[in-house]
């Protein structure tokens, strides 16, 4: 039974607790919004290739919180070097999940490199990720990775190449940034430090 992306993302974000989420541009940003918009989710509308690095920065700044990067195969392919950078920093609280439909979903469903056999989980293994997995029918091991630490973890989740209705998050970047920081850091996020 082929996995469907919205069901997968719903399951990964169910009862998310302390989880902080970065979503790569395009379909995964719509997926996390369909699962329920949250100030502690940062959906990207651009900067293709940078979702995993956003997750690394956040994971280093918030070592006690689990951090999930949820992105597409095309977005991940544009930032493969970031897997090497994450492997070297080795944040235990970071999980990167690629929702892999083997297509560029926003531009006409052209095939990505993963459609021709490029193995993202194997690349993550080679980049020293602690645990890596490719799943095709059961996301329970991915959920376990996200919420149990022991990272950096990487999962490729193979899903159907379906086009779904857009579910759009707020688009104002300043709002997305400010609401995330306020929800995470409290009112101190909005004021300058008194000491210089």
């Amino acid at each position: 039974m082929t996995l469907r992306r919205r069901e997968v993302v719903n399951e990964l974000l169910r009862d998310r607790g302390e989880l902080l989420v970065i979503a790569g541009l395009g379909s995964t940003a719509w997926d996390i919004t369909a699962a329920g918009d949250s100030p502690l989710s940062f959906p990207m509308w651009g900067a293709m290739g940078q979702a995993a690095m956003m997750g690394l920065g956040l994971a280093l700044a918030q070592p006690k919180r689990p951090v999930l990067v949820i992105t597409g195969d095309g977005e991940m392919l544009m930032g493969l070097g970031s897997l090497a950078t994450i492997g070297v920093q080795a944040p235990a609280n970071l999980t990167v999940v690629v929702i892999d439909n083997e297509r560029y979903g926003e531009t006409g469903m052209q095939r990505t490199h993963t459609a021709d056999g490029v193995d993202l989980a194997a690349i993550a293994t080679a980049c020293k990720f602690k645990r890596t997995i490719t799943v095709t029918n059961d996301v329970a091991p991915v959920r376990e990775m996200i919420y149990r630490s022991g990272g950096p973890n990487f999962a490729a989740v193979k899903v159907a190449d379906e086009k779904l209705p857009l579910v759009l998050p707020p688009h104002d970047g300043v709002l997305l940034k400010a609401r995330f920081r306020r929800a995470l850091l409290g009112e101190s996020a909005d004021v300058l430090p008194e000491e210089r």
């Binding site: 651009g46 900067a47 940078q50 690095m53 956003m54 920065g57 930032g79 920093q89």
Partner: protein
């Protein structure tokens, strides 16, 4: 005696509470990178390409930490598209850039990017401060830190090649 701009910049980063330093190495940044690596309150993060630094800095800021990025001028060319995120989200940004491709450069392939570094940054909305002398580097960094982290500014300090020294092929070979 030249002022030790690397140590002065490191002191500025400490005073501003910078905890993450992303870098792609450059010979001109060698000492500053080493100072940041040796600082137990800082996380020095080597990057495979300068572009990664933008994601790193933005993510760390979402989490409440300040990041500064070190790179050479050629690396500025790798940043262009992702600087769009800095602009649209008004993420704080400070790039400390060592220049190549200026008069005296031994490698002609460094020249095109070196000649356009400031214009590329300004075109993408990053304010540029040119440090032409060793003693002006730290004051520029001081100002840029304030603007970046207190006014959500996107700032770059360009350190002239004559400040870091211009190497010949022979000197490179002997390094």
């Amino acid at each position: 005696m030249q002022p030790d701009w690397s140590a002065e910049v490191h002191r500025e980063l400490v005073a501003a509470g910078v905890r993450v330093v992303g870098y792609v190495p450059d010979a001109g940044h060698k000492r500053l990178i080493e100072l940041c690596q040796a600082d137990t309150n800082m996380r020095a993060v080597p990057l495979t390409t300068e572009e990664e630094g933008i994601g790193l800095a933005a993510g760390a800021w979402l989490g409440g930490e300040k990041t500064v990025l070190l790179m050479q001028s050629s690396g500025v060319g790798n940043l262009v598209n992702v600087l769009g995120m800095v602009k649209v989200c008004r993420f704080p940004l400070l790039l400390v850039v060592t220049m190549r491709g200026e008069p005296g450069e031994f490698n002609p392939w460094q020249v095109p990017m070196g000649q356009t570094t400031a214009r590329v940054l300004e075109t993408m909305g990053v304010a540029v401060r040119q440090a032409g002398e060793a003693q002006t580097v730290a004051p520029h960094v001081h100002t840029a830190l304030r603007l970046a982290f207190e006014a959500n500014g996107a700032e770059a300090v360009l350190i002239a090649q004559r400040v870091i020294g211009i190497k010949s092929f022979q000197e490179q070979r002997n390094q």
